[in-house]
């Protein structure tokens, strides 16, 4: 997947805007005027904004967007607890009928419903978070969480005493393969013998099972845990057992585990939401796919726990800054997978986008 950036020049953008507005005016009448006065943006969330994780991050992004563009210019609607799958279709259709100009669906499983409704409402723009398919009025956007995971892996590899870390996931999906490989490869640079145990709990949401999985991993020698699930359950077990630690996912979770919380990957959606809604105001919204990471500030590393030694913080910062200035790549060679197949030669890198297409593979040293 490549990143498409808007490279329209200012003059051309203005011409398009004027032309577009002029063309739309006679057809749409009142609606077009309403559109010009106040943009209506809707957000569909799979949970509630107080989950301290994924939904919280998106809602924070919405508030940033409102603050940046002004509440007099943008009106937002938030629909919470929308289940993935066919049921969400109704919600998207209703939001489109209510005259929203742009609708953000913030979960992977909304895709089919959004593609369907987008076809029926060509004038409404749709934005699908973590999606993989676009349409003329449907864009996708995602964040490169795996860049953050390379920073976490650096800390894990340097700090683990047993040399065994764990990665707790929901289901084996491309995003998780990306994350676990980035985490493990970075850890191995610190400790060549580092082993990462991957456990899929087989459920999107089951905090008690996450906690038990963390217990099972810690009982078998794991002393650093990272999780691809949203809640702090694993971190709390890490705190209780007194292992080296774990990492917050989506938000700073240090309140749950002051000693075990090493740092966190924090999602910042604000800049993207500002850009997307602004493009509606300016009338130059375009179908596209956005995939930004540390450099654009969409993925941010939280504060480091004071117990992390200074040289480990320095190593982690070196990776973070290296990824930002592109001197370090999360997947740089030599990469050999568990089957012994060379995935990247020395000096080569694996493009992040390849994970979406390729079948699953794990770097050597990952036990999955």
């Amino acid at each position: 997947m490549t990143q498409k950036k808007s490279n329209l020049s200012h003059t051309r953008r203005n011409i398009l805007k004027i032309g577009g507005a002029a063309a739309a005016l006679p057809l749409l009448g009142g609606r077009a005027f309403a559109q010009m006065s106040k943009v209506k943006a809707a957000f569909v969330l799979i949970g509630t904004p107080d989950d301290n994780g994924w939904n919280f991050g998106h809602d924070l992004g919405r508030l940033d967007m409102l603050a940046a563009l002004g509440e007099e210019n943008v009106e937002t609607t938030v629909v919470t607890n929308v289940a993935e799958g066919p049921d969400s279709e109704r919600v998207f259709r209703e939001l489109a009928q209510q005259g929203n100009d742009i609708i953000f669906g913030t979960s992977f499983g909304y895709g089919d419903a959004m593609l369907k409704v987008a076809k029926q409402f060509p004038d409404v723009k749709f934005e699908w978070a973590t999606g993989f398919k676009t349409a003329s009025n449907l864009s996708i956007y995602n964040a490169k969480f795996h860049e953050g995971r390379a920073v976490l892996g650096t800390i894990a590899g340097a700090m683990s005493e047993t040399g065994v870390g764990a990665y707790l996931g929901s289901f084996p999906i491309p995003e998780v393969f990306m994350g676990v490989n980035a985490f493990h490869l970075a850890a191995q640079k610190q400790n060549p013998d580092f082993v990462t145990k991957v456990v899929y709990i087989g459920s999107w949401f089951d905090p008690a099972k996450e906690a038990d999985a963390a217990r099972a991993l810690i009982d078998q020698g794991v002393d650093v845990i990272t999780q691809h699930t949203d809640g702090p359950a694993a971190l709390q077990v890490a705190e209780e057992r007194g292992i080296i630690g774990g990492f917050g996912q989506g938000a700073d979770m240090s309140a749950f585990a002051p000693k075990a919380h090493l740092t966190a990957i924090i999602d910042i959606w604000g800049p993207y939401y500002i850009k997307a809604v602004k493009s509606i105001m300016d009338g130059n919204w375009k179908e596209g796919s956005s995939w930004e990471g540390l450099a654009a500030g969409e993925v941010v590393i939280g504060p480091y726990n004071p117990k992390i030694p200074a040289e480990v913080v320095a190593a982690a910062e070196a990776v973070r800054l290296g990824i930002i200035d592109e001197s370090i790549h999360p997947y740089d060679g030599l990469i050999v997978d568990t089957e012994g197949v060379v995935r990247a030669e020395v000096g080569d890198v694996i493009d992040d986008g390849e994970f979406w297409a390729a079948e699953a593979w794990y770097a050597k040293g990952i036990e999955a």
Binding site: G202, F205, A213, D219
Partner: protein, 307 residues
């Protein structure tokens, strides 16, 4: 050896909420009522138990409040099905949906706030040795769940009140004709089931994962329901069954964490094992008893005294 001990401790934790909820439901079903709302009552108990523990800092009060919340939510079900003779299956499902909604709404201010775990009350010196840890290392709730199984057995099979409750479940009209209040007995049973489900819910924030998030119980109420059938309505079989279900759930995670040859079974199969085991037991029961089951004869049937 240490790993086995660790696994047993995790297994006991995972089994306890199921055991509480199933013990309550067993009494409810023995009285002839089928309450499918266990999951909803558990969620009410979990959120109230969390809120009270969070506010007062006292987990004992939290458990008490959870029991009260579970019993209170079960009264919605009782009024609808026992006094108004509504369909028990539909009302039970509605109670589950209600519990999910109520707990989400009520729990909003508590999301993202940690509490302490409800730890063992034994002096820590007792739990230093791994073997002793298996015996003394748990939260008081764990011991309470086991005691309750014994209490329920004693009540059902060794007391007059228990005999009446079973009579109401086996033949409501006979019990009614000799002067027992069928509806009254069932109200009591449903309230007890609700209180136990409430405590089962409180186990989640108090002994498993000290936080509140909506849907915290993750479908364990349905496992408890299957467990009652699995145990063919017998308290001690229920105890064994709860630990078997807990063991399956725990083994899945330990096997995955161990890696290697243990990963051969896909996780979906692990997750469905408790249900497969229930189906197997049902088949075995029906084969042995030539088509009949040991379910209470009046299970799920509304009682209309005018008939």
């Amino acid at each position: 050896m240490d790993l086995t001990i660790a696994m047993i401790i995790t297994m006991v934790g995972a089994s306890t909420p199921i055991l509480f909820a199933a013990t309550g439901e067993l009494v409810v079903e023995k009285s002839g009522v089928l309450n499918l709302g266990i999951e909803g009552m558990m969620l009410c108990g979990a959120v109230i138990g969390f809120a009270v523990t969070f506010t007062t800092g006292n987990p004992w009060l939290g458990v008490l409040a959870a029991a009260a919340a579970g019993a209170a939510s079960s009264m919605i079900f009782a009024v609808l099905t026992l006094s108004l003779s509504a369909n028990q299956v539909a009302t039970g499902l509605a109670l589950t949906i209600f519990g999910l909604g109520f707990s989400t709404l009520f729990g909003q201010p508590y999301t993202g706030r940690p509490i302490g775990l409800f730890k063992s009350v034994f002096p820590p010196e007792l739990a230093t040795d791994p073997i002793l840890r298996v015996i003394f290392g748990y939260s008081p709730l764990v011991y309470f769940s086991m005691i309750m199984v014994g209490v329920v057995w004693w009540f059902l099979y060794r007391t007059r009140a228990g005999l009446i409750l079973r009579a109401v479940g086996e033949s409501d009209t006979s019990a009614h004709s000799i002067g027992y209040s069928v509806t009254g007995v069932r109200y009591g049973a449903v309230a007890f089931g609700g209180a136990m489900a409430g405590i089962a819910g409180a186990c989640f924030p108090l002994i498993l994962t000290p936080q509140w998030v909506e849907g915290l119980t993750g479908g364990r109420g349905w496992i408890a329901l299957a467990l009652v059938v699995f145990a063919s309505w017998r308290p001690f079989r229920l105890l064994a069954g709860a630990y078997l279900f807990g063991l399956i759930a725990t083994m899945e995670l330990y096997a995955k964490a161990a890696g290697g040859p243990f990963r051969i079974l896909p996780s979906e199969l692990w997750a469905s094992l408790p249900y497969l085991a229930t189906i197997l037991v049902l088949v075995m029961i029906s084969l042995r008893r030539e088509g009949s089951t040991s379910a209470p004869a009046c299970l799920g049937k509304p009682f209309l005294p005018t008939k």
